[in-house]
Symmetry: C2
DNA sequence: TATTTTCGTGTAATCGATTACATTTAAATG
DNA sequence: CATTTAAATGTAATCGATTACACGAAAATA
């Protein structure tokens, strides 16, 4: 039952002041070498542990940063968090996790909680698609707490962001499908109020136009990111008089659903129909019929976000920097769309 | 550039003391209703935010708990963490994440960091298989910080744990393979210094013996949890004069590797060879040839761990409780081992 | 009216560490 | 030996909130 040992306990034991103990432990050069040694040894012997709360209160820095994501149990977000943790750990920062479950109210609540907890920064992927929480974001910036968006961002002045080039991801994937000989390409999109989905869609559209294919709204289906949603979406497409011969899906899960349904209809993939997804979820490469997908390098995204945060921290002056990092998407071509074995 | 507002600022504005402000904000019944209202309104108007660090220092409770896992980007651990976060969030606790990357030194370091940060509890899945960190674990218990192991546990007195019945998982899976008519069942195991792998192995062995099958060491292969390791392990088995006709793998990834290799050898699954994995990773059910696997209900495991922690917190007395919760594993039978369509 | 309660606030210590400033002691200099 | 200078440590305020105890004023009681 060891009681909590403080620097006062050490001081008492050695008949010196807490100030001296503090200085000795912090390697303050004003302390006599012999005293320093004695203090350090005694501290170790008494099993002293620095109370970081006290330090945090006095210094105004908690050495904690907050991370807010829709949910943690998705390969993408978990990998980003891994990247953040790995990059920040060596700098003595700890990572506090919050989930919004796609609920703007939860997002707002999380922001406040983190602020109350005096985190030194907030790294997050935005949930709110309306502008409900914009005031909260500005409040954070005004409080001089570095705020960094990754993947799902918003344009708020003073907020840095790390994203991938979703337009390019959509563009290149669609181009690839066209190169495979697909003539009529459908698109499964997410909520286009979110920049990521909007941009993937715009990339898709541009690729069609650049290749002389016609763009038709009816081939763009808004669906959730789930296997079932993908099945439903495919069924809608198949009811058309002229069904498409390829799908570029903003979600790997929806892509999988479409594939399952296509197989049930005994349509040959990729010979008669090509499918490509987005996110490069682990299962896409494990499948027997592996699925073409766009990798978002989540690990790198996490590390980069952390680095942007660290940079921001160093600027002690109140100058506000806004940095926008855009990572390159990487298309992984797999069986679901590889007609040629070039 | 709003400066940090404290209760002193509110007090000054209202010409009262910080003590009164504090009491008013905490709904202390001794405060006059009119004063309370006034304080609360002023606090809101001034955009006051409670500094939880100050509260933590004074109360001795940080309202943070630490979670240590080998890595966060695995579906299992991410899901456990999700469960923990969801259960603890309503109680005002925040979750700090640490990763060990399977390195006992990192584990030790994480334990110390969390202790320094004054977390109110630590929930973790053990990395260290030697006894290097036992002293650190005992130290935590002695400091009266609730410590709870989930999944990968160790027997340390005073430490509660939440696990699944790995023995049963191994036993039932093996029994299932036997029921499918498999006569010679191999086992891919992990590091048996870890209880989970030891118990899955023991369950496997017992099932063989109970069914009158012979147990032979050479059919037990120690392999890592990866697709490649599974391939290698399968190749070893296939060199035997009498190769097995089924595998119970402690890892879904290794099971997948084995399946890929079996397909390459044009062996029919499940007709001529059955495979079962462990963990119920998402991809196991997505595969064309879906893989039989044991679900560990990670979400439930996380929630349960959180509940055990909360219970422990409530006991303000220094009585130490040790609670061992064992969840039931759930076998999901899929195509990789389903010969009969019962 | 005198006295006891009750109510609402103020005073000041506390949590544990850091640090500007003051002070003591020893060493260096004239 | 007197005095400046440097080295080492002590004193006390600070970070922001809580709370035991003290205290004055108003209300209740005798």
């Amino acid at each position: 039952m060891s009681e909590k040992i403080t620097i006062y306990d050490i001081a008492k034991r050695l008949n010196i002041t807490a100030a001296t103990v503090s200085r000795a432990l912090n390697n303050n050069p004003k302390i006599k070498e012999s005293t320093r040694k004695l203090v350090i040894e005694t501290a170790a012997a008494m099993n002293y542990k620095q109370n970081r709360l006290a330090l945090a209160l006095q210094s105004g820095r908690s050495n904690n940063i907050g991370v807010i994501v829709p949910r943690i149990d998705s390969n993408f977000f978990a990998s980003v968090i891994r990247g953040i943790e790995e990059e920040l750990h060596p700098h003595g920062f700890q990572v506090i996790i919050c989930q919004t479950h796609e609920d703007p109210k939860r997002e707002n609540e999380n922001l406040h909680t983190l602020l109350d907890a005096q985190v030194d920064g907030i790294l997050m992927s935005v949930t709110d698609v309306s502008n409900e929480n914009d005031a909260a974001f500005r409040n954070i910036v005004n409080n001089n707490v570095p705020l960094i968006f990754f993947d799902r961002k918003k344009d708020i002045s003073g907020v840095s962001s790390v994203t991938i080039d979703d337009f390019k991801g959509g563009y290149e994937t669609t181009k690839h499908l066209i190169n495979q000989g697909c003539k009529s390409i459908a698109h499964f999109s997410g909520d286009q109020s979110l920049e990521i989905f909007k941009n993937r869609f715009l990339g898709y559209k541009q690729a069609l136009l650049d290749s002389g294919l016609t763009f038709d709204e009816k081939y763009v289906i808004q669906s959730k990111s789930s296997v079932d949603a993908g099945k439903e979406a495919l069924n809608i497409l198949m009811q058309y008089d002229t069904p498409p011969d390829a799908i570029f899906s903003s979600s790997d899960f929806a892509a999988l659903g479409a594939i399952q349904e296509l197989k049930a209809r005994e349509i040959n993939i990729p010979a008669d129909f090509c499918v490509a997804g987005f996110s490069n979820e682990p299962f896409t490469k494990f499948m027997e019929l592996s699925i073409t997908s766009v990798d978002q390098s989540p690990l790198e995204m996490g590390k980069m976000s952390a680095r942007v945060f660290l940079e921001q921290m160093e600027k002690t002056d109140k100058i506000m920097i806004e940095k926008k990092v855009v990572l390159k998407p990487e298309l992984h071509i797999r069986k679901s769309s590889a007609r040629t074995t070039s």
